[in-house]
């Protein structure tokens, strides 16, 4: 085979590799929808972030408007400090509120951002004041169990025979 022909086949081979990589990046991964350009950061304090992870989406009305960039613990208040990279062009009022939500029953956790009614917008490095923690299934169940146990206890125990500490 002449070397011209060899070069042609090698070119085809490398081209095929390029096509394969482009296919993987654009069709299998999310590069095509990767128009993400962070413009400003916000932070929010949560009592409990549950299973929130770095790079989790931040959604408002279901639309992705940013991503979680870091999660740290504030050692003074023992609250989780979540920093958020917001996408360009999405400004939110000063009294917006952030919730940690779960997509589906067993899905990933994300931050839901709900716009408030304030005239001024959150500035760069601003702090979201109103937050709601993640719902932890175990504490929900234990709360429910305590509630029912208490109800049953107050119904069945006769007055005077109560073993609950009197207040």
């Amino acid at each position: 085979m002449s070397s011209e022909k060899t070069d042609w086949w090698v070119g085809l081979f490398v081209l095929l590799g390029g096509i394969a990589l482009a296919f993987l990046a654009l069709r299998a991964a999310n590069l095509s929808s990767f128009s993400f350009s962070p413009s400003y950061t916000l932070s929010a304090k949560f009592d409990n972030i549950g299973g929130l992870k770095v790079r989790a989406p931040v959604k408002s009305a279901g639309v992705v408007v940013g991503r979680v960039s870091s999660i740290t613990l504030d050692t003074k208040t023992y609250q989780a400090v979540v920093r958020i990279d917001m996408e360009k062009g999405f400004l939110f009022p000063l009294d917006s509120s952030a919730k940690i939500l779960t997509s589906g029953l067993l899905g990933e956790q994300y931050i839901g951002l709900e716009a408030g009614g304030d005239e001024t917008n959150l500035p760069d490095n601003g702090m979201i004041q109103y937050t709601q923690s993640a719902i932890v299934l175990e504490s929900l169940i234990s709360q429910f169990l305590f509630n029912t146990a208490e109800k049953q206890g107050s119904q069945t125990t006769a007055p005077g025979a109560s073993d609950k500490p009197q207040k």
Partner: protein
Amino acid sequence: MSLNTSLTSVGRGIRIRVSGLGTFARFFWLLLRRSGIVFSRPRLVSQQIHFIGNYSLLIIAVSGLFVGFVLGLQGYYTLNRYGSEEALGLLVALSLTRELGPVVTALLFAGRAGTSLTAEIGLMKAGEQLAAMEVMAVDPVRRVLAPRFWGGVIAMPILAAVFSMVGILGGWVVGVLMIGIDTGAFWSQMQSGVDVWKDIMNGVIKSVVFGVAVTLIALYEGWQCRPTPEGVARATTRTVVAGSLAVLGLDFLLTALMFSN
């Protein structure tokens, strides 16, 4: 007395292993230093890419297709129990780009291209062609080994990318066309779960590392083999064994480094 001899044999075994490792490292360094020919005569490299890459393409593509088919069937069987068949695309894409693409390609590459490199170099050595080149003041490391090395290193990631692509298409054929998963859900689940840098780029890095390891082992075994028919046969066997083990061991190391957090 027998304690002494067994101690001696253990010591000799360790010394031979260690000095083999040292020779291997020096061989790698020698190869890198003589790699200037890649730029001065790139046609030598492209000939090797043609020999190593193009001729391996068919077996890589067919294996990828069948691995994709099997992943589609087996993944569906498991995911169906949890009622999340739509995640099949994600499962196929992640397992291919992160693990199976680079690893299976490297194993096939060791068998398909590595053996032929070892046999070629070994026979050149047995036929005293390498010695003849040295007599003619042509450096065989520069002229023979370096183009083969870089040809293998360049061809391997391309083959792995083709493997992953064909595998994903195979999973799509089984999942969407045969089983009847919704095609939109198949792709959107995949796109939401596969990250370009974390999954695909790490897969490419893996395949480059495997390409270096397999090609280097193949060339080293050919270079070091005893110049007899039996020596070449043994060296070819060792290429496959050592190459496959190196790929699997490196894969564990790289996975632990890349995906541990």
